[in-house]
Symmetry: C2
Subunit: 195 residues, 2 copies
């Protein structure tokens, strides 16, 4: 069992636009390309954050997309009453990872998102594959896949870093497992997180 993502990101790093609309709505993606059917073919369970679940639920109730597969929602709140019986709330990434390991299903786990859920599962050491489809579009605003701090250049800070004698420019590297370019210019990158 592997916990895997298949998430689309704009070239400038956003998974949604400023309204929360997934970035794939800006492309030709209709659920049949970008390696998505191949990815889903071996998915036996779904995990997602509470925000993603509550955002998606209304639409999903008109045609529940996950069949009998268990769906784990990372949330500190109670699930909406209309959630199907296959949906389970878990309180932490650690609990999510443990529950997934103990659950009765075949295949891998789709970690749907959002970014907070992916970050917390990654930090807890549970993410096996970070699969990202980089779409050839620049959005300019939205929800970033990676929460980061943008900094402007500072000559002083840079000079100080150059003077430092003990610079440790080391970060744990991801491992690029595979990659594929699609006809629409999207680029599928699949990484194993460090450690």
């Amino acid at each position: 069992m592997k916990i895997r993502t298949h998430i689309s990101m704009s070239l400038d790093g956003f998974v949604t636009d400023a309204n929360g609309l997934p970035v794939w709505d800006y492309t030709s993606f209709d659920g049949t390309g970008h390696g998505y059917p191949e990815f889903m073919a071996n998915i036996g369970a779904i995990a997602m954050g509470g925000t993603s679940f509550r955002q998606g639920l209304e639409g999903w109730l008109t045609g529940w997309p996950y069949g009998e597969r268990p769906v784990f929602v990372l949330t500190s709140r109670a699930l909406p009453a209309e959630a199907p019986a296959t949906v389970v709330a878990v309180g932490s990434a650690e609990e999510l990872i443990a529950r997934l390991g103990a659950a009765d299903f075949e295949g891998d786990v789709q970690l749907l998102g959002g970014p907070q859920a992916i970050a917390s599962v990654t930090a807890a050491g549970g993410l096996d594959e970070l699969g990202v489809v980089v779409l050839p579009v620049v959005l300019g605003s939205g929800i970033p896949l990676f929460e980061g701090e943008a900094i402007a250049f500072s000559q002083e800070r840079w000079a100080a870093s150059q003077d430092a004698t003990d610079q440790a420019h080391v970060r744990p590297m991801y491992t690029l497992l595979r990659q594929e370019a699609y006809p629409d210019g999207s680029m599928h990158l699949v990484y194993a997180p460090p450690g």
Copy 2:
């Protein structure tokens, strides 16, 4: 003559760390991989922003890396007195594009950076190839390649966007021209900007 970038970016979109140190210092890059020698082989002129020039100048003066090639610096300020005679200041992206078109050199132009210079040349319609090497590292902070606005999810904003009947989820798409994976897990993506 094409204006081209070959710039490294972390997986989370930063071209430098928080000190302004280029992200390639976090990798094994030593100037001989990542397609860089092949890229530079046909470069006849260099263009960069004023911040990049002033940041790099001290180091470059100990071994000027550009030979006799003309170097155009996009800046509203006077050049430092120690700048070599091959360095020319230009005041706008439009002027830069015009000067490059009229200059006497063979081959393409390396648009070195930084992000502001790339953005302004792109906005002025002058960028022919956006070449980005995506390094398999997450930095968490630094200077982003694309200036963007990070937004948190809002149920209200999302609901409003779903209710809208005239959604125009269209952005000009980049064209993925070519891509190459390198042994260290870096991924070279080369795009033509829209339009």
